[in-house]
């Protein structure tokens, strides 16, 4: 039925677009009203999801068919959790009276949501870049020189990812004139284009050695900005991998490396938000492995993991943001003993920590079990053991290190209180969701891409997981008691960003200097030959060749031309 009063149907707008448009009004709306305006925009955008599965908006332009709004079983869970995360961000940053970060945060979330609904590679590229350009302001908002430099490095990598995506799309389109975004084959006829797209996704998904930007930039953003950053970019990449590369074997190995390697960096990192950034990288690894397996159970695992991960990772970043906001530092070496001053934050942090560690009755457990079971089905035992090892690693850095060094360890002497009310409300909601999903996983399972009957709460799963976690915690206590657990010290941990932050300038600058030096010598030689040439010519023109008559320049040129004609004549006729 067509309602004549409404000239266009908002529900057929790409979700997220509404949020981007609303973001433009953010600077002109006074504080508090602005927060309500943003929540309303998010709600309106979420209402657009009610259109259900199908293609709802197509734009014919320049002979291309751009699918602006495609929804199906895979987009819905991502769209839902992105909306929830966006709303949590608004609540968490309620105390912030400046408009700039709110505008960036709302449009960033909107761009990520719009990207999830892109049905073709060009539309995906547009929103892919939009997430880069909007999110960089969350890092710049920190206002320090450090943050500014980190933001520029971040932007460089994000834009590079976008450029690779566009190049890949162009190559694919030139071969098959087909730009729709679906499953792609790395060894198919469009291998080059597909590889470019794969690497573009790999940068945003923080594959090993492409991950430097994540741990480099996220912890430099503001207390509220990091929370927003943690939700969208990387999970958009997981969505894109699940859409384009489900069942690509290589992802199993890549993902396994992603789960294991950051564990060792996180254990020695002193900046607790950077510890969480390494932990984020490790969590992405679980999702990438699941995408690589590609079975229905595994893809459900990847999506469920992304869903609950956004909540507990946001919760952990929120609790550390609250500590940063109250104390002014987030270095483990300068923190400790805050459990008395910030008990609510401490409880929320521990709920997040138990969720990410996948304790039974917490959200991580019901999601990670899917992936582990799917992995067990494949029979790739050593990857299974790597992921089991990484699970102990998660417990080490996110389950124990984060709450322990912030709230317990040794008294640090900071005098402070609980964070602003908005921060606490957002943490409370996220914590409730973490426990709620853990206790009642059915609603989460109902929105997963495939209808799979799965029961995480059987004796084997629960006791097995508890054994792993409890005995790992005993190992921690053992190390602390024996005073063998290394103390946190102010430091920086070298990661893959070392290659472009330290090595590239130090090798690159001398190398560039040498190349430029050789080039300068070469140019000087050319100049010398040219000058010599002219000097010789001048000498010939003006110096008498024979006798008293001096042949003029014109005569000489004419003689040369005639000679040339003569030679040409012989060549042509002969």
């Amino acid at each position: 039925m067509i309602n004549p009063m409404i000239s266009f149907d908002i529900a057929s707008w790409p979700p997220g677009l509404m949020m981007i448009l609303a973001a433009f009004a953010v600077p002109w709306i006074p504080h508090v009203a602005r927060q309500i305006w943003m929540l309303a925009a998010i709600a309106l955008s979420a209402w657009g999801l009610s259109s259900g599965a199908g293609v709802h908006a197509v734009w014919q332009v320049m002979g291309l068919e751009l699918v602006l709004y495609r929804a199906d079983n895979l987009t819905f869970p991502f769209a839902l959790i992105f909306h929830i995360a966006a709303a949590l961000n608004v609540i968490y940053s309620w105390h912030d009276r400046k408009w700039s970060e709110h505008m960036a945060s709302l449009s960033y979330a909107g761009a990520a949501i719009a990207a999830v609904h892109a049905g073709d590679l060009i539309t995906l590229f547009i929103w892919w870049e939009a997430t880069a350009i909007t999110s960089v302001f969350l890092i710049l908002a920190a206002g320090t020189d450090r943050a500014q430099r980190a933001a520029m490095r971040y932007l460089l990598f994000q834009v590079l990812s976008g450029v690779l995506l566009l190049a890949g799309a162009a190559v694919i389109a030139s071969h098959s004139s087909e730009i729709s975004f679906g499953i792609m084959a790395l060894d198919g006829p469009d291998a080059l284009g597909v590889w470019l797209v794969f690497i573009a996704f790999g940068i945003k998904a923080a594959f090993p050695f492409l991950n430097g930007w994540l741990q480099d930039a996220y912890p430099e953003a503001t207390a509220t900005g990091t929370v927003a950053l943690s939700a969208f970019t990387t999970k958009l990449a997981i969505y894109a991998l699940a859409r384009g590369f489900a069942g690509t074997d290589m992802l199993i190995w890549i993902g396994a490396a992603m789960t294991a390697l950051p564990v060792f960096f996180a254990v020695i990192e002193n900046d607790l938000r950077r510890v969480l950034a390494f932990s984020l990288n490790n969590q992405l690894g679980f999702m990438v492995v699941a995408v690589g397996i590609g079975s229905e159970l595994a893809l459900n695992g990847a999506v469920a993991h992304a869903f609950v991960h956004i909540l507990y990772k946001a919760l952990l970043f929120m609790s550390m943001g609250a500590v940063l906001h109250q104390v002014g530092t987030i270095k483990a070496s300068a923190l400790g003993g805050l459990y008395r001053q910030m008990p609510f934050t401490m409880v929320c942090c521990i709920i997040g920590a138990m969720s990410i560690s996948a304790f039974p009755l917490f959200s991580g457990f019901v999601a990670k079990s899917l992936t582990m079971s799917a992995l067990g089905d494949t029979g790739i035992v050593w990857v299974y053991l790597v992921l089991l090892f990484a699970s102990a690693g998660v417990l080490e850095h996110s389950g124990i290190k984060i709450p322990y060094f912030a709230f317990f360890a040794h008294p640090s002497g900071h005098q402070t209180g609980e964070a602003p009310i908005g921060m606490r409300v957002a943490m409370g909601i996220a914590a409730l969701l973490c426990v709620g999903i853990g206790v009642f996983p059915a609603p989460l399972y109902a929105i997963l891409p495939y209808a799979v009957v799965y029961h995480p709460y059987d004796v084997s799963h629960v006791t097995g997981q508890l054994q792993l976690l409890i005995f790992a915690m005993l190992a921690f206590i053992f190390l602390i008691r024996m005073k063998w657990y290394p103390p946190e010290i102010p430091s920086v941990v070298l990661n893959s960003d070392w290659f472009y932050r330290w090595l590239a300038p130090r090798v690159g600058r001398p190398l560039l200097g040498a190349v430029m030096g050789v080039w300068a010598v070469f140019v000087r030689m050319l100049v010398w030959y040219r000058d010599m040439g002219w000097a010789v010519l001048d000498r010939v023109m003006h110096a008498p060749i024979s006798g008293p008559t001096v042949p003029g320049r014109a005569v000489m040129v004419q003689a040369l031309l005639l000679l040339l004609l003569l030679v040409l004549g012989y060549l042509l006729l002969g």
Partner: protein
């Protein structure tokens, strides 16, 4: 400060006691119920417990070595 320190130590002792109790229950449960893992190795009695304990020690130990290799002063990148 000292008072806080003893409070923290008391908290730690209680926490340790609770953990040990849970661990004891888990060990007992292991021999009452038949627990089956996703892969064959996991079926070995107390495999997850041993794996978790050793993995944790391994991670911290590798961390100690890594401190020498990839840990630098805070102003390492500032030029």
């Amino acid at each position: 400060m000292d008072e806080q320190k003893t409070a923290l130590q008391r908290l730690g002792s209680r926490f340790t006691a609770i953990l040990l109790a849970i661990a004891a229950v888990l060990v007992v449960l292991e021999f009452i119920f038949h627990r089956h893992g996703e892969v064959a190795a996991e079926d070995f009695p107390l495999f997850p417990a041993l794996f978790g304990f050793l993995a944790f020690l391994f991670i911290v130990q590798v961390g100690k070595w890594l401190r020498v290799m990839i840990m630098r002063d805070e102003d390492y990148y500032d030029d």
